[in-house]
Amino acid sequence: MNMKRYLKDARSDLLTYAGVIIAFIIISTLKSHGALNRSQSGLLVPICCYIVMAVSLNLTVGILGDLSLGHAGFMSVGAFSGVVTAMSLMNVIPSAPARLALAMLVGAVCAAIVGFLVGIPVLRLNGDYLAIVTLAFGEIIKELITCLIVGVDSEGLHVIFNVNGSKTANDLTLLDGGRIIIKGAQGATGTKTIATFSAGFVLIMITLVIVQNLIRSRHGRAIMAVRDNRIAADSVGIPVTKYKMMAFVTSASLAGAAGALFGLNYSNLAAAKFDFNTSILVLVFVVLGGLGNIWGSIIATVILYILPEALRGFANYRMLIYAIVLIVVMLTTNNPVLKNYIASLRSKFSKDSEKEASAS
C-alpha cells in the first residue's frame, strides 16, 4: 500500500474519532445546561446503541459483503444476557458503572458465541440464501428467548425453558428475597436502568477502534478481498471461511455489547422488540449511510433515528413520510443521470484544483 493512500485512510479515521468526540462534548454540555428536554435526552442512549449496531452491521454487509437480516438477534442475545448479569450481580458489585461494563462484556461474549454457532452453517451459503438463513436465525433466537424464564435468589440463577407455554414465574421456586429477571414473553421486567450516555460514548469509541483497525489491517484487506472476489481470494491462499467468520463474529459481539447497553436502558423490555423489523431498520441505516463507510453509518443512524421523532408533529403521517423518504433517497442516489452529473462535477472540480496547483 502506498504512503499517500495510507495517510488518507489514517486521516479519515482520525476525523471520524474527532467527529464523535466533538459531538459527545457538545451534547453533554447541552445536557448539563438543561438545554435538552426529557424526551430528547431519552433518545441519547438508544442512538448510541443503534450507532454501534449500524457500524457492526456495516462490517458484515459493507466490508464482508454478506447480507445479514438477523442482526437484531445478536442484539437480543446481548441484551438479555447483559440484563441477567447486571441484575444477578446487583449485591456483589455495588458500583453501577462496573456492573454495566461487566454486563456489556458478558453480552458481547454471549453474542460472539451465538454468532460463531450461527456462522458455521450460514457462512457456507451465498447471496440471498445466506440472507434468508440469517433472517431465520434472527426469528429463532427471538422465539427461544420468548420461552425463557429466569430468576435469581441467594442460591444462584434459576432458569426454566418454557417450551409449551404451561410454566409461569412461580415455577422458579425462588427463595424469599429472590428476583424474577426475565418473564417469558413479557421479557425482562423491573430491570434497574443503569445505562448512561457516557457509557454509550465509550462503547462507540471502542467499536470504532476495533472496526477501523480491523479494516486497515492485513486481516481487513483479506476480508475485503473475499468480498470483491471470493474465488480469486481463495486461489491466492486466503482462508475464506476463517476471515468470513472473523468478520461475522466481531460484528455479532459488538451487536451484543450494544444490546446489553440497550437492555439496561429500559426497565421493561420484551424479546419481540428485537424482531425482523429492527434488523431491517439497522440495515437501512447502513445502506443509506453508504456500504463500507463507517462515518456514513453514524450520520445516517443519527438522522434516521431522529427523523421519525422530529416528525411526531405529523403524528400518523410520519411513518408514511419516512417510507417515501427512503424510496426517494434510493431512487435519486441510484439514478444514472444524476450519478453521471455528480461524477462530471467532481472531475471538473478536481481538474480545476489541479490547474490551480500547477499554476501557482
Binding site: V61, L67, P121, R124, L125, D128, Y129, A131, I132, V133, L135, A136, F137, E139, I140, E143, L144, T146, C147, N162, V163, N164, G165, A185, I231, F276, I280, L283, V284, V287, L288, L291, N316, Y317, M319, L320, Y322, A323, I324, L326, I327, M330, L331, T333, N334, N335, P336
Partner: protein, 292 residues
C-alpha cells in the same frame, strides 16, 4: 384422527403459502430481487375484497376479482415507479426500496383503514364432516387446496407453452440475450409483477378466510414464510414453490400441535436451515456451477 385433522389444516395453510410463494418465485426468477412488498400486496388484496364484499355488497367471487384487478394494477405501478429505475442498481439498493414500498403500503393501510382488526367474512362457510363427524374439514380448506393446484398447473402451462411464458423464461435466463432476440424485457417483467400481484390478491382473500382478522400487518409474516417456502423448494422453480409451500404448512401445523406452539415458527425455520445445508439450492433448485 387428530393427526389427520392437523395434517389437513397444515395442507390448507400450506396451500396459501404455496400461492404466495408462486408469485414470489416468479418475480424472483425474473427480476432477481427480494420483493419484500409482496406480503403487503396480500394485505391490500384482503382489504379490497373485504371492502368490495361489505361496502359494495358484491358477491364473494366478484369481490375477489375486484381485488385481483386492483392488485394487478398496484403491482404494475410499484414495479414501474420504484423498481424499474433501479434495474441496473446494486441489489441492496433494490432491497431497501422494496422495504420502503412495504412500509409505505403498511402505513397507507393504517391511515386509510385504521389499526383495528377487521372481521373478514370467509369466502365460503361451513364444514364437511367425515368418519361420523370425527374429522371435519372446512370448505375454505378444500377451496384453498383446489385453487392452489389449479394455479400451479395453469402457471406451469403458461410458462412452458405460451409465447409470453417463453419470453419470461428467456428473460430470467439472460436479459441481455433476450433483448437481442426481440423480447420486450420491461414489458415481460411488468407482466410477471402483474401475475404475482394477482396471485397475492387471491392469497389475501384465502388467508383472511382462514384466519379472519385483517390488519395492516397481516401480510408481513405470511410473506416472509412464503419466501422461505420458495427458497425451500428451490427459488425460481414453480413446482418447487408448490411443494415448498405445502411442506412448510404441514411442518408448521404438526410442529404447533406436537412440539410447541410458541416455537412453531422456529421449527419451520430450523427445517429450512437444515434443507439448505444439505441442498444449498433448495429441494428442486438447479445448482449452478460457479464460473471463474
Amino acid at each position: 384422527m387428530k393427526f389427520l385433522a392437523y395434517l389437513v389444516s397444515g395442507i390448507s395453510l400450506g396451500s396459501i403459502y404455496a400461492i404466495i410463494a408462486l408469485g414470489y418465485t416468479m418475480v424472483y426468477g425474473i427480476a432477481k430481487m427480494l420483493n419484500f412488498a409482496h406480503g403487503d400486496v396480500i394485505m391490500v388484496g384482503g382489504y379490497i375484497s373485504f371492502l368490495a364484499a361489505t361496502n359494495l355488497g358484491l358477491p364473494v367471487l366478484l369481490s375477489v376479482l375486484v381485488a385481483m384487478v386492483f392488485c394487478t394494477v398496484l403491482g404494475i405501478v410499484i414495479e414501474g415507479l420504484a423498481y424499474r429505475p433501479l434495474r441496473s442498481a446494486p441489489s441492496l439498493a433494490v432491497l431497501i426500496t422494496a422495504i420502503g414500498v412495504s412500509y409505505f403500503l403498511q402505513n397507507a393501510a393504517l391511515l386509510i383503514f385504521g389499526a383495528n382488526p377487521k372481521a373478514y367474512t370467509p369466502v365460503v362457510s361451513g364444514t364437511l364432516k367425515l368418519f361420523d363427524g370425527q374429522l371435519s374439514i372446512s370448505y375454505v380448506s378444500i377451496v384453498t387446496v383446489i385453487c392452489c393446484i389449479v394455479i400451479m398447473l395453469a402457471l406451469t402451462a403458461f410458462t412452458g407453452k405460451t409465447r409470453m411464458g417463453k419470453a419470461m423464461r428467456a428473460c430470467s435466463e439472460d436479459k441481455g440475450a433476450a433483448q437481442l432476440m426481440g423480447i420486450n424485457v420491461n414489458r415481460t417483467i411488468s407482466l410477471t409483477f402483474a401475475i404475482g400481484s394477482a396471485l397475492a390478491a387471491v392469497a389475501g382473500a384465502l388467508l383472511c378466510s382462514f384466519s379472519p382478522t385483517l390488519m395492516p400487518t397481516t401480510g408481513s409474516m405470511p410473506g416472509i414464510k412464503a419466501f422461505t417456502a420458495a427458497v425451500f423448494g428451490g427459488i425460481g422453480s414453480i413446482p418447487g414453490a408448490f411443494i415448498g409451500g405445502i411442506l412448510l404448512g404441514v411442518i408448521e401445523a404438526l410442529g404447533r400441535a406436537y412440539i410447541s406452539t410458541q416455537l412453531s415458527n422456529s421449527i419451520v425455520f430450523a427445517v429450512l436451515i437444515i434443507i439448505l445445508l444439505v441442498r444449498p439450492a433448495g429441494l428442486l433448485g438447479k445448482r449452478t456451477q460457479e464460473k471463474v
